[in-house]
C-alpha cells in the first residue's frame, strides 16, 4: 500500500528516479530468537491488524499452524527440534518478509509501482497494481510472497507500513509478551542486537550473532540467533542468501541490450530495403515466360 507520508526510494518496473528529496531514517525489526517462546501472539496480532483470517487447518503433529505462509498468513512460527552437542534444542523462528535492502521481488516485478521500497527500508506490495504473474516469487531469495487463490494477487508482510507511517511500531512488535521483537532505527536495532549477542556469548552460546545478510544488502528484519554460524538449523534459514544469478541475468542489462538488438533488426531490415531496393523478378526471366506464353 503506498503511503503519502512515506517517501518511496524505488518502485518496480520504473526506469526513472523515485522521490529522493527527503531522507528519513532506516527502520528495522529485530527478532530475538533466543527469547521467543513460540506463543504465536504475533501471528494473531498480524491477522487482527491486517484483517486476515487463514482457514483453520489440521494439526500435523508439530506446533506449526498454519503450516506455511499464505495470502492470509503473512507471518508464521516455524518450530524445529535439533540436537546440538548431544542436547535437544527447540528452535523457533518467526518467518516472514525480510524487507531486503536489495529486494529480489522488486527487481523481478514487471508492473510499474506494484512493489515499492520506502526510504525507511520497508518493501511493500501495492496489490492494486499487481498483475499476478508471480515474478516476485521467482525473484525472492527467502520464498516469501504468496499468490492468493481468490484474487490472483501477491501478498506478504508489509512491516505494518500503515502503522509505521503514523509513528507506531508493527502489530507483532506491540504484542510480543516476552519482548523478543523490537522495532526502531536500524542503527539502534543493530546496537541492541550486539548487546543481546554479548549476553548469549557469556551464557555459552559462542556462535551467537546477528543475522543481517550482506548478500541482499542487509535486511530490515533481522534475527538474533544463538547459532548464527548455522542459520539452516532454524527451519532452513538461508546462509549467505543473495538474489539468484539467474534472476540477475534475467533482469540485468540483458533486457535493454536485447531490446536494442531487436530494434536494430527491424531498422536494419528497413534500411536494407531502401539501400538495396526490393528483390523483383529479373526482366530476363519475365521475358522468357512471356515468350513461352506467346508460343
Amino acid at each position: 500500500m503506498p503511503l503519502q507520508s512515506l517517501d518511496i526510494k524505488r518502485r518496480s518496473a520504473t526506469t526513472t528516479e523515485s522521490t529522493q528529496a527527503r531522507t528519513p531514517i532506516e527502520v528495522a525489526k529485530l527478532i530475538d530468537v533466543s527469547t521467543c517462546i513460540g506463543c504465536k501472539a504475533c501471528q494473531v496480532a498480524c491477522s487482527e491488524w491486517n484483517e486476515l483470517r487463514e482457514e483453520v487447518g489440521e494439526n500435523i503433529g508439530v506446533y506449526d499452524n498454519p503450516t506455511d505462509l499464505s495470502a492470509q498468513a503473512w507471518t508464521v512460527m516455524r518450530f524445529s527440534e535439533v540436537e546440538t552437542a548431544g542436547k535437544l534444542e527447540w528452535l523457533i523462528r518467526k518467518d516472514g518478509c525480510m524487507h531486503c535492502a536489495d529486494p529480489g521481488c522488486l527487481k523481478s516485478c514487471p508492473s510499474p509501482g506494484a512493489i515499492i521500497q520506502y526510504k525507511n527500508g520497508i518493501v511493500d506490495f501495492n496489490e492494486e497494481f499487481c498483475i499476478g504473474c508471480g515474478y516476485c516469487v521467482t525473484g525472492c531469495p527467502f520464498n516469501i510472497p504468496r499468490i492468493s487463490k481468490e484474487d490472483g494477487k501477491a501478498y506478504k508482510c508489509s512491516l505494518c507500513s500503515d502503522r509505521v507511517a503514523v509513528g507506531q511500531e508493527p502489530a507483532c512488535v506491540k504484542t510480543c509478551p516476552t519482548g523478543a521483537i523490537s522495532f526502531g532505527s536500524k542503527e539502534d536495532m543493530t546496537e541492541l542486537a550486539a548487546r543481546r549477542v554479548e549476553d548469549l556469548k557469556s551464557r555459552g552460546y559462542e556462535n551467537a550473532g546477528l543475522y543481517d545478510p550482506a548478500g541482499v544488502g542487509g535486511t530490515h528484519v533481522m534475527y538474533v540467533l544463538h547459532h548464527a554460524d548455522k542459520p539452516e538449523l532454524y527451519s532452513g534459514l538461508r546462509k549467505d542468501p543473495s538474489i539468484s544469478p539467474m534472476v540477475s541475468l534475467w533482469k540485468g542489462v540483458t533486457k535493454p541490450l536485447a531490446t536494442l538488438a531487436m530494434a536494430s533488426v527491424v531498422l536494419g531490415s528497413l534500411f536494407h530495403y531502401v539501400t538495396k531496393g526490393p528483390n523483383e523478378v529479373s526482366r530476363k526471366v519475365e521475358e522468357e515466360i512471356e515468350k513461352e506464353d506467346a508460343q
Binding site: T259, N279, V281
Partner: protein
C-alpha cells in the same frame, strides 16, 4: 481465387490457414510478452485489456500457437531437410543480401535460408513451450530453480525469435511476389523460375 490458371500452386488453403493461425498467435504473444519484458513495452498490455488480462491470456495463446506450429512442423519438415546445395546457397547468401542473386545455386521448394530458419524456429518453439509451462503459475508449481531457469530461457529465446520472425517477414516483403503465396496459395511462374528454379522445373517439367 484463381488469378492466372498458369500460376503455380505452392500452398493449400488449409496450409495457409494453419500458417496464419501460427502467425497471428505469434504476434499476440510477442506483443503481450514484451509488455512484461521491459517497462518500455508495458503500455502494450492495453491492447489486451490491461496488464492482468495480458498476463492471463498470454499462456493460452501460447498453447494455441504451440499446437498449430506442431501441425505445420509435421507438414513441412520433410521438405526442409538440408542438402549440399542448401549449404552452398547459405555460403553465398551474403551476395544475395548485397543485392546480386545471379550466382546463387539453384534451389528447390525452399532455399537454405528458409530451411535453416525452419529448424531454428522448431527449436525455439520447443524451448518457448517448455519454459512457458514452467513459469505458468496459474496451473503449475515447479521447483524454484526450474522456474528461474524457465523465465530466463523464455525471455532470451523470445528475443531471438522476435528477431528471426522479423527477418522472415522482411524476406517475404523484400522478395516481391512472395506474400501472395500466403493469400492465393500460388506464385507466378516467373517468380518460381527466378527464386526456386529446381522446384520450378520439378512442377512444370521444364
Amino acid at each position: 481465387m484463381i488469378r492466372d490458371p498458369k500460376d503455380l500452386k505452392r500452398y493449400t488453403a488449409s496450409e495457409r490457414a494453419n500458417h496464419w493461425v501460427v502467425g497471428m498467435s505469434f504476434i499476440l504473444l510477442a506483443l503481450s510478452g514484451l509488455s512484461f519484458f521491459h517497462p518500455a513495452f508495458f503500455p502494450l498490455n492495453q491492447l489486451f485489456g490491461g496488464p492482468v488480462w495480458a498476463r492471463i491470456l498470454h499462456p493460452y495463446v501460447g498453447v494455441l500457437m504451440a499446437v498449430s506450429f506442431l501441425i505445420i512442423f509435421l507438414r513441412f519438415f520433410k521438405l526442409n531437410v538440408m542438402t549440399k546445395r542448401d549449404i552452398d546457397w547459405l555460403k553465398r547468401a551474403h551476395e544475395m543480401v548485397n543485392g546480386n542473386d545471379h550466382n546463387m545455386p539453384e534451389q528447390g521448394k525452399y532455399n537454405g535460408g528458409q530451411k535453416a530458419l525452419f529448424w531454428a524456429l522448431g527449436i525455439c518453439m520447443f524451448l518457448m513451450t517448455v519454459s512457458g509451462i514452467l513459469i505458468w503459475r496459474a496451473y503449475f508449481h515447479f521447483d524454484i530453480t526450474a522456474v528461474r531457469l524457465g523465465v530466463l530461457v523464455h525471455a532470451a529465446v523470445a528475443s531471438v525469435m522476435i528477431g528471426m520472425i522479423t527477418v522472415h517477414v522482411y524476406a517475404a516483403i523484400w522478395v516481391k511476389g512472395t506474400i501472395r503465396a500466403m493469400w492465393y496459395g500460388t506464385v507466378t511462374r516467373a517468380w518460381a523460375k527466378q527464386h526456386h528454379r529446381g522446384w520450378y522445373r520439378q512442377v512444370t517439367g521444364k
